[in-house]
Amino acid sequence: MEPLLVPRRPGPLWLLAEVTYRCPLHCAFCYNPVDFAQAGPELATEDWLKVIREAREMGAVQFGISGGEPLLRDDIEILVGEARKLGFYTNLITSGVGLTEARLAALKEAGLDHIQLSFQDATRETNDLITNTRSFELKRQVAAMTKAAGYPTVINCVLHRTNIDHLDRIIEMAVEIGAEYLELANTQYHGWAFLNRDALMPTATQLAEAEAVTERWKAKLGKQMRILFVTPDYQSKKPKKCMNGWGEVFLSVTPDGLALPCHTARMLPGLEFPDVRAHALDWIWHDSPLFNRFRGTTWLPETCQRCEDKEKDHGGCRCQAYMLTGKADATDPVCPKSPDHGLIETALTRAEDNRHTRPLVFRDPKASRRLDRAF
């Protein structure tokens, strides 16, 4: 008798390699885990090559290299080269610090398709303040260098309380640089950003003004430069279908080799994170308890089960639910229907009041060890 053929779920489309937690910047809004300094040793080149091959065999098309600052590893040219050879579209997500002419030429030779450059602000003062470094001039040079190498200029700028009032200048600068694409990502409060939430969260007025400024520029620029304004979760009143669904399209690997369904899932308690050296990616994706834990909608809490939008949002972000309520399987409190939505209201109210602003805690290994917490 013919075996019954059950169609298998598709593999991941996205492989994100977070190749290192090391970083020359010390951004207070970083989503990396606060206790990153306690992670195990970084994967070897061979381990990454195995992951890349396995993911491509499963049908993944997008390969991202991120961190930390990926340029701190000297083997990313090798990883890009292999990924590109196998048919991946290759993305380097970088602060630009450490990108020399020689390095850029080697990456291009390896077949790198795309560079996303992060900017922290348009003014040197805030850029250097928020990153706790002097990196502003360097970033402008790097943008010019990648453009000269023929790469479309794609800039990501994280918005928060201290730079959002400069948005007009930030967009103007992106135009000056000749950017084709500008992503304005409001801070999502994970990792270090959660720790610094009171200092980073903009007021409702700041946010409304930022949206108005963005709309004005969008109308003016049209196709010359696309602008994507990512609404902050807390203010959106709509939970997001995190990562387009847990275990649906995205697979991330941490510097020390743990496979995750989203960048920040390693903060979640009571889960076993499969090591890519010990398991095949195929097993991790299809069969591991981790990737099945919040897949689909059957696990959703009561509040979500009776909601008509459950297929649209899958109950929102698991990490946000856990950080705010202590329960990873709760409805994301961002949703007004969540019994815990008051926690969001409180955070928003605090943002309106300067007295709650705390000094920023910068992301560095010393602070990481001292704080000894996931977020």
């Binding site: 598709p10 499963m58 997008q62 048919g87 579209y89 398709d113 795309h114 996303q116 479309p152």
Partner: protein, 94 residues
């Protein structure tokens, strides 16, 4: 810039996108920074011919020959107009 309505214009895939066949999807796709468009068969067949060498007229003739069809001009032009709006293609001089 042409909107694709000019018969002699030569469309090419925008350098922001990469066009390739994906065995896992059994489809042509357009890959771009952090994203993918999965194309249906006719979209794939049209874009396959957008090489900056062939004119719209030549692409139409080529498709009509390959698929033993006729009167594809309107369909091809409509698709190219949409592809242009999506920024998938650029136009070489006419």
């Amino acid at each position: 810039m042409s909107t694709g309505s000019t018969f002699g214009a030569r469309p090419a895939i925008n350098r922001l996108f990469r066009f390739q066949w994906e065995p896992a999807q059994q489809a042509h796709v357009l890959l771009y920074p952090e994203g993918m468009v999965k194309l249906n068969q006719s979209a794939g067949e049209i874009l396959k011919r957008c090489d900056g060498e062939r004119s719209v007229a030549e692409i139409v003739a080529d498709l009509e020959a390959a698929f033993n069809a006729s009167n594809l001009t309107a369909d091809v032009e409509a698709f190219l107009k949409m592809a242009d709006e999506q920024n998938w293609i650029t136009w070489k001089d006419e």
